[in-house]
Amino acid sequence: MDAGDSSRLRFERGGPSVRTLKKEYLLHIMLLPGVIVTLIYAYGPMAGLVMAFQQFEPLSGFFHSKFVGFDNFKYVFNMPDFKQVLWNTVLIAVIKMVLFLLVPLILALLLNEVTKRWFSRFIQSAVFLPFFLSWTVLGGVIIELFSLSGPVNGLLAAMGLKPIMFMLDNEWFRGIVIGSDVWKGMGYNMIVMLAAITGINATLYEAAEVDGAGRWKQMIHITLPGMAPILILLGVLSLGGILNAGFEQILIMYNPTVYEGADIIDTFVYRLGMFSQQFGPAAAVGLFKSVISLVLVSVTYYAAYKYNNYRIF
């Protein structure tokens, strides 16, 4: 993702000529399976969005269900819970987004300073490991960990503190949801960032050392600016998920007592679609989510280009 890369991409934007197409047709053929899969699994299902405007009956299908215009949207937006749910979603997602950049960044910078190879390797693997665990398993573990008879409360009791019902308290629950998700997922971004650090030209550091810059100065003036493109990339991509607060995780961990603080759009849609079988409204919320994400991604992408002259794609 360095400067040369993006300039080449820009050059090709004029559209490939017949000559280059002939020369590169093999590459295009190799691209084909990916394109087909995307068409089938990403574009195909978009036809289902028509449900958002229908009073959808599964067995009548898309063709015979009644069209109701924007009724589904009105219905959902007028539901009393919707505002709370939207707020929860944005709050949880934004905090997660920020932490997903911040925590791995700090970890990557720290690891970069570690000189013992084996130690940094070990930490990398250890941090990355929870990423592969499924929430189905981890959710249960976390509920047990934070239950009244769990080890966390045991620790509190040993310190002479009062037990806390973490999973039944709206504020605590939100914290645990955010904390555990960041803990589980931080390894991924950390690896990406470490790779970015490795990509920084080593001569820059040598020059800095000659100029008398210490480790700290080097980090501020070389490592961080060198990582800027990847940080922007990660940031922009995660913005698309601003309304994704972590469906699986919350579905597994929540309970009626914390609906108030942890019911998010996805769990809301899930209950609407799966238990009330109101597919139309559920699809409407899904579409609403996608439109917001699309707008946000487009805006940040454009802004990154306009003000930083930086392009991702």
């Binding site: 299908g61 039944l168 009626p256 007592t257 609407l272 799966m274 079988q277």
Partner: protein, 577 residues
């Protein structure tokens, strides 16, 4: 990784829907998603020359698809590791009728509702379906259900017909539309729903307490069960009343507790109850002031540690664990508890002894809510199925298997798991038959029961367990298992025994609404349910009791008033009939 989080359920939904769209566009007899696609069932030709026989064997194998949500086998003697496919009932079905059951999928019961919703959403339905009323209503509206009138008239065995007519054909009429019978309802004696209070008698004796008759006395007992070490193990490890996160569930819930306050919020499974007010109209029990009083009591119980502090995190399995482990000594519920899970506790702790009493009320024993009809499940057939009569024959088969001649073989240890087999229709008067027949045999000091019809197995099983229990014989089954059979079905002061007494004394209130769920109930039900769960749980855990008044307002404006109207419309139509 925050950038590509895919919502898996929505994904599945979308993919299956788009797939069904594609197949709908391109299907030319190659209907891969359709349930009737099984070639063997298509090739089957209906033999028109032979007269219909309820238990006639098909000349060629008929394959029937089903789906199943299942619990572990109830009987501990069942071979370990058995799966629904290996159920001995299915083998017999193949031998006797040449019907082969194929499960499209099987999941633990707790996931069934979700999974079935998905199947409905993708129109991927099996041939024979076990439906609740809500799903029945949906599939009916979409014209997915086969007309069973002919199949029933031609093929139903005399026993099945007897059962169906035992209520004057009332339940069947409920599931008939425009003269077409769309489902076979599995209805039972409504008093099976009567709420009782189950108590650890040995704990009462340890603490020199009497079984409680009033709420006040129950309060004292529950307090003592928390504080006074009822199991006398020197540890503070017990609590009062069993509860899991669903306040109105099918077990380990609080229906009976609310009934004790003259409050009738629900008939279980989160469905509202409807009672008659003084003007003869139906009113929702859920929003009456008595409910508030009861919630107030629960709040103080929660504070005193009578309820588990983390009940809102517990599912039914956790509740059962606590009962089995002897951590809790009071639980509200129906007649069948001794059969499960109390038997587990009895086996674990030889000192454990349970009794059933009428629910304590405000002054003297309270009145339990009892439905007008009890028909949770119905069996319906997919319209695409080629042999709808196979469903009727399978019901005949299940009833037939209860006869004496199959007794030797039809045992749990041989891999017969009755509650995995569908479609399954019981004798609506089964429990009463068992109770009277077993007691008759006991009183006459018989060693064998005299009855010889399709009820034989059910009666003989209980009689045998009863004899074993009374003689202290544990050669065939553990003490808990024998006791469970005896105390749930045959004991005069046991589950059904107490229920009968309540029935006779008239100490019950009827749930007056027994129609199919109304339009608004189907549409808004889940939302109202969430509102109730959230508000009530919060109040119990120490929220302001005035939240209840807010809840009532929201409930009414979010569709509750509309539902009340619809229910009353139904009621006046019913009265006119």
């Amino acid at each position: 990784m925050n950038m590509k989080k895919i919502n898996p359920w929505k994904m599945i939904l979308l993919v299956t829907m788009s797939l069904s769209l594609f197949t709908a566009c391109s299907s030319q007899g190659k209907d891969t998603a359709g349930p009737a696609a099984d070639p063997s069932s298509k090739e089957e030709k209906k033999s028109t020359d032979a007269p219909p026989e309820p238990l006639g064997k098909y000349p060629e194998t008929v394959t029937v698809t089903e789906v199943l949500g299942y619990n572990p086998p109830e009987d501990p003697r069942t071979p370990k590791g058995i799966t629904p496919d290996q159920n001995a009932y299915l083998k017999d079905l193949k031998d006797m009728l040449n019907i082969e059951v194929k499960y499209k999928w099987t999941v633990p019961s707790s996931q069934f509702e979700q999974k079935f919703s998905l199947a409905m959403a993708s129109a991927d339905l099996p041939d024979i379906m076990e439906l609740d009323q809500k799903n029945f209503e949906k599939l009916k509206k979409q014209g997915m259900l086969a007309d069973l009138t002919e199949a029933y008239n031609d093929y139903a065995s005399p026993e099945l017909k007897k059962y169906m007519e035992s209520d004057g054909g009332f339940a069947m009429k409920t599931f008939t539309e425009d003269g077409k019978l769309l489902a076979i309802p599995a209805f039972e004696d409504p008093f099976l729903s009567t709420q009782l209070l189950w108590l650890r008698k040995d704990w009462l004796e340890n603490l020199k307490l009497e079984p409680p008759k009033t709420m006040e006395e129950l309060d004292k007992v529950a307090q003592a069960f928390v504080k006074n070490d009822p199991d006398q193990n020197g540890q503070n490890d017990t609590y009062g009343v069993s509860l899991q996160k669903n306040l109105f569930f099918w077990a380990y819930d609080l229906r009976g507790f609310f009934n004790g306050f003259g409050a009738y919020p629900s008939i279980g499974d989160n469905q509202s109850a409807w009672i008659k007010d003084s003007s003869g109209k139906l009113i929702p029990g859920l929003i009456q002031p008595e409910v508030k009083t009861a919630l107030g009591k629960l709040q103080s119980w929660y504070k005193d540690g009578i309820l588990d502090k983390e009940f809102a995190l517990k599912d039914e399995n956790k509740a059962v664990e606590d009962i089995t482990a002897g951590k809790v000594g009071i639980v509200y519920g129906e007649w069948w508890y001794p059969n499960y899970p109390l038997n587990l506790n009895v086996d674990k702790d030889p000192k454990a002894e349970w009794i059933a009493i009428q629910i304590p009320g405000l002054d003297g024993p309270g009145k339990s809510l009892v439905p007008k009809i009890r028909s949770g499940k119905v069996y319906a057939v997919n319209k695409k199925m080629k042999n709808p009569e196979a469903a009727i024959k399978m019901i005949n088969f299940y009833i037939e298997k209860g006869k004496k001649k199959y007794m030797e073989q039809n045992k749990a240890e041989n891999g017969y798991v009755y509650n995995w087999f569908n479609p399954r229709i019981y004798n609506p008067a089964q429990i009463e038959t068992i109770y009277t027949e077993v007691n008759k045999a006991l009183d006459a000091k018989q060693t064998e029961i005299t009855l010889d019809d399709e009820n034989y197995k059910n009666v003989a099983d209980v009689f045998k367990a009863t004899q074993d229990y009374l003689a202290g014989n544990t050669a065939n089954a553990s003490k808990g298992v024998n006791w469970g059979q005896y105390f749930s079905r045959a004991a005069k002061d046991g589950g059904w025994g107490m229920t009968r007494q309540i029935k006779e004394s008239g100490a019950f209130v009827n749930n007056e609404f027994f129609g199919l769920p109304t339009e608004t109930q189907v549409e808004k039900g889940a939302q109202l349910d969430k509102l109730m769960q959230e508000s009530f749980t919060k109040i119990i855990m120490g929220g302001s009791l005035d939240e209840f008044d807010k809840f009532v307002q929201s409930w009414k404006s979010l569709g509750g008033d509309q539902i009340t109207q619809e229910v009353n419309d139904w009621y006046s139509k019913q009265a006119a009939k």
